[in-house]
């Protein structure tokens, strides 16, 4: 198998560090370094902003950086999509919601249950340590496989998408439909509901009266109708 991280023999402690860091000195490496540092920095900024608008903006920056990284991985189509869908569409959605609920936080982090939550973060750190231990190879891996010219282009990915993976493509449209309908259902104002509640209340009052319309419970009916009369 080609250079797939985590090939057996990987060793965090015993790796030849200079060998492993060598590729960063190349031109490609510098680009990666800049993009990677940018992505990490921007994502950290995003997670630490008190003002939601600046958080969204740094997230957009993160996504741009990621798009650049995708391009270095020869995923040109995806790089474009990343900008279009994420930076373009999803982020606009976020901004809209920020407008609706615009609230600047007084405190960044709530202290309720903080030990538990910090423990959760440490659990994440532990996992990344284990992961790094197995993902970093013992020596610098060989070159990546050569790619055809069309790799990652709209044409070839589109071909896959509409031939091989037609079903998921169709299925994802169902998912989007669910999201659209659901988004409307959950977030639209409750006025229509309030009307329905008022109507239902009237219905109940009527059925209540009619259900007690029997001689055995005459006194109760009188009571109820007296109460109902009192309202009008």
């Amino acid at each position: 198998m080609a250079d797939v991280a985590g090939t057996p023999g990987g060793n965090l402690g015993g790796a030849n560090v200079s060998d492993l860091l060598a590729p960063l000195a190349s031109g490609e490496g510098v680009v990666f370094l800049i993009l990677a540092l940018g992505v990490v920095a921007m994502s950290v900024v995003c997670m630490t902003r008190r003002n939601p608008v600046s958080a969204v903006m740094s997230l957009v920056a993160t996504f741009f950086g990621l798009a650049g990284l995708y391009a270095t991985l020869s995923a040109h189509f995806l790089a474009v999509l990343q900008v279009l869908v994420y930076a373009g569409a999803i982020m606009v959605l976020f901004i809209f919601v920020v407008m609706i609920v615009n609230r600047e936080e007084s405190t960044l982090v709530s202290l309720r249950g903080i030990p538990t939550r910090l423990l959760g973060v440490f659990a994440g750190v532990y996992m990344i340590r284990v992961f790094a231990g197995i993902a970093i190879p013992a020596q610098a891996p060989g070159p990546l496989p050569a790619l055809s010219d069309s790799f990652g282009t709209v044409a070839s990915v589109g071909d896959m998408l509409f031939r091989q993976d037609l079903f998921p493509f169709e299925a994802i449209s169902l998912l989007l439909l669910v999201a659209i309908v659901g988004g409307v259902v959950v977030s639209r104002s409750a006025r229509k509901e309030s009307d329905a509640v008022i109507a239902a209340d009237k219905r109940i009052a009527i059925s209540h009266l009619s259900s007690h319309d029997s001689p055995a419970e005459l006194s109760e009916v009188e009571e109820t109708s007296a109460a109902a009369g009192g309202h009008h």
């Binding site: 490609e28 990490v40 995806l78 609920v101 959950v186």
Partner: protein
């Protein structure tokens, strides 16, 4: 470029997202943390795709982007619904139900 750089980067992104999700008070930022997690997955996917010279990963990443959009739409809608009810989107104030 050796792919393990990308992988480590993706895991760091995942961790940053997770940390934000676990620690931040604002549900909106928590949602952004989740977006970061999904993007970390995407980065790993595309990295492997490049390493293997296989385009299935691209299709997968495409679908994940669509999925993230759907998830964001629903998540934001739920958030707005919560805001309408409570006038707050702070997660630590949403704890009616416990035990």
């Amino acid at each position: 470029m050796p792919t393990f750089y990308y992988l480590i980067l993706s895991f760091v992104l995942f961790l940053i997202g997770t940390t934000g999700v676990l620690l931040r008070r604002n549900a909106l930022v928590v949602l952004m943390g989740i977006e970061l997690q999904l993007n970390a997955g995407n980065l790993a996917m595309l990295t492997y795709s490049r390493a293997l010279g296989d385009e299935k990963g691209h299709v997968f990443a495409f679908l994940i982007i669509a999925l993230a959009a759907a998830e964001a739409a629903v998540g934001l809608a739920i958030l707005v619904g919560l805001f309408r009810n409570r006038q707050t989107i702070n997660l630590d104030e949403a704890n009616l139900m416990k035990r």
